[in-house]
């Protein structure tokens, strides 16, 4: 972590909102991208990003001096995101075509994207997965979202959710098995 950021964090800890504004400037775009990838809705992703920064502001006193800011912030964001998504019952609402094409457009600039993938096929696949996810329980959805939507390891998921690693592994396994069953039955 560079000195400048640690100075900003120190000032923000003392209640300096300007300093916190600089931290927002430096990290909000990445946080927003992560939230958007998880929930697929721009409005909700913005709410999640703001909520995570608000939680970070409230909890700055608990931030360990000298440790990097972004991983700490992202832990808060992921935790907040999965909670908000459950509260909002995000998985019950189909992804709109507008939102999907917007997401595709935003992801196209990222490296490693298969340009040849058929949009129509993707819509069908996403809808199938969404319907299957809606039938899992909340904890299973949380681990799946963090594993595949945030690309976290099992140890990181354990840290974010405050569960033992063994619990994360077992819930992830059960969620995968159930999802496989649901997807197989959906595809006939």
């Amino acid at each position: 972590m560079d000195t400048c950021e640690s100075d900003l964090i120190e000032k923000a800890r003392q209640g300096d909102q300007e300093a916190f504004g600089h931290l927002w400037e430096a990290h909000h775009a990445v946080a927003m991208a992560a939230a958007l990838r998880l929930c697929h809705q721009r409005g909700l992703a913005e709410d999640i990003t703001q909520g995570a920064f608000w939680l970070a502001w409230r909890g700055l006193s608990g931030f360990k001096r000298g440790s990097p800011f972004r991983p700490w912030l992202m832990r808060i964001l992921y935790r907040h995101a999965v909670d908000v998504m459950e509260k909002q019952h995000t998985y019950l609402h189909p992804i709109s075509l507008d939102e999907l094409s917007q997401l595709e457009h935003q992801a196209l600039a990222s490296p490693g994207v298969d340009l040849a993938t058929d949009m129509q096929e993707q819509v069908v696949q996403r809808e199938e997965v969404r319907q299957a996810l809606a039938q899992l329980n909340a904890d299973q959805r949380r681990v799946i979202a963090l594993r595949y939507g945030a690309d976290l390891t099992e140890a990181d998921i354990a840290l974010v959710l405050g569960w033992p690693v063994g619990t994360v592994k077992s819930r992830l396994n059960r969620a995968r098995v159930r999802l496989r069953e649901l997807l197989t039955s959906e595809r006939g």
Binding site: M32, R58, V129, G162
Partner: protein, 268 residues
């Protein structure tokens, strides 16, 4: 032949990892937000939580009781509630404890000790309590305390406690003497316990009516729903206390809409 069939079916049905990768899509590039977004957040930044104090072992914890270490935002909420009620109670009534193991914030009213309203909150940053939840908890504590202070409730509680004590002693004595009559004090004991349970629930429901008068139904519903969303079993009540689901049913009648739930972590 078999292998070809399997390959063919794989091509038609993408495996789970692939399906999930498609669902979540590739990594996104950075998504900068407008400055209005920061202004909106900035308007909501309130006081920060003070750092947790290191608790020293030994006698220190006894004289630490006089040290008011409750976070400023909790004291502010308490002052605001007493102002809105309006009731005149000192902030020293409130005791706040944070624990990493606490997932579900709760409030208890105790008949003993200096701090009568005990607030238990989660300490991990990721589980920080939102303002509507805090408002409801503090108001609940104040309302229940106010009812428990009423002479008729105090007398009733005293009588029940006395019956409980007396029947327990009698039951033990009769059991030791192997007398069949021990059934009677045991029955009284169970009755007293049941009455205490009913009394606690009745007070809790009456306190809920009071907090609706103080905060307004919408704010109470928002707080109760936020608490219920956090709880793993909102339908499970404790002894002498109704479950969150019961409270919501009585106070709100039905669930608040999803739109009203939005941004409940961002507080006022």
């Amino acid at each position: 032949m078999y292998e070809w069939k399997q390959e063919g079916s794989n091509r038609e049905q993408p495996d789970l990892e692939e399906s999930l990768a498609t669902y979540y899509g590739p990594q996104m590039r950075e998504q900068p937000l407008s400055s209005a977004s920061w202004q909106r957040l900035r308007s909501q930044l309130g006081p920060q939580r003070p750092p947790r104090k290191w608790r020293k072992p030994g006698l220190h914890r006894f004289w630490r009781r006089n040290d008011r270490s409750d976070p400023a935002y909790i004291r502010e909420t308490f002052y605001r509630m007493t102002h809105e009620a309006p009731v005149f109670y000192p902030v020293s009534l409130l005791q706040c404890s944070f624990s990493a193991r606490t997932r579900m914030p709760s409030v208890e009213v105790s008949a003993f000790g200096r701090n009568k309203i005990k607030l238990r909150l989660p300490s991990t940053t990721e589980m920080l309590i939102s303002q509507p939840e805090l408002d409801v908890l503090v108001a609940t504590g104040l309302a229940r305390y106010q009812y428990e202070q009423e002479p008729k409730h105090r007398v009733l509680r005293l009588l029940l406690d006395f019956a409980l004590l007396l029947s327990s002693v009698a039951a033990i004595l009769f059991i030791l003497q192997d007398r069949l009559i021990s059934i009677i004090p045991i029955a009284i004991l169970l009755c007293a316990l049941w009455l205490l349970h009913l009394h606690g629930r009745r007070l809790a429901f009456r306190a809920d009516v009071l907090i609706v008068q103080w905060l307004g139904r919408e704010a109470v519903c928002r707080g109760l729903h936020a608490l219920a969303d956090r709880s793993r079993s909102p339908r499970r009540g404790k002894w002498g206390e109704p479950s969150l689901a019961e409270r919501i049913e009585r106070v709100c009648g039905s669930r608040v809409t999803i739109e009203e739930d939005r941004l409940m972590h961002v507080g006022r």
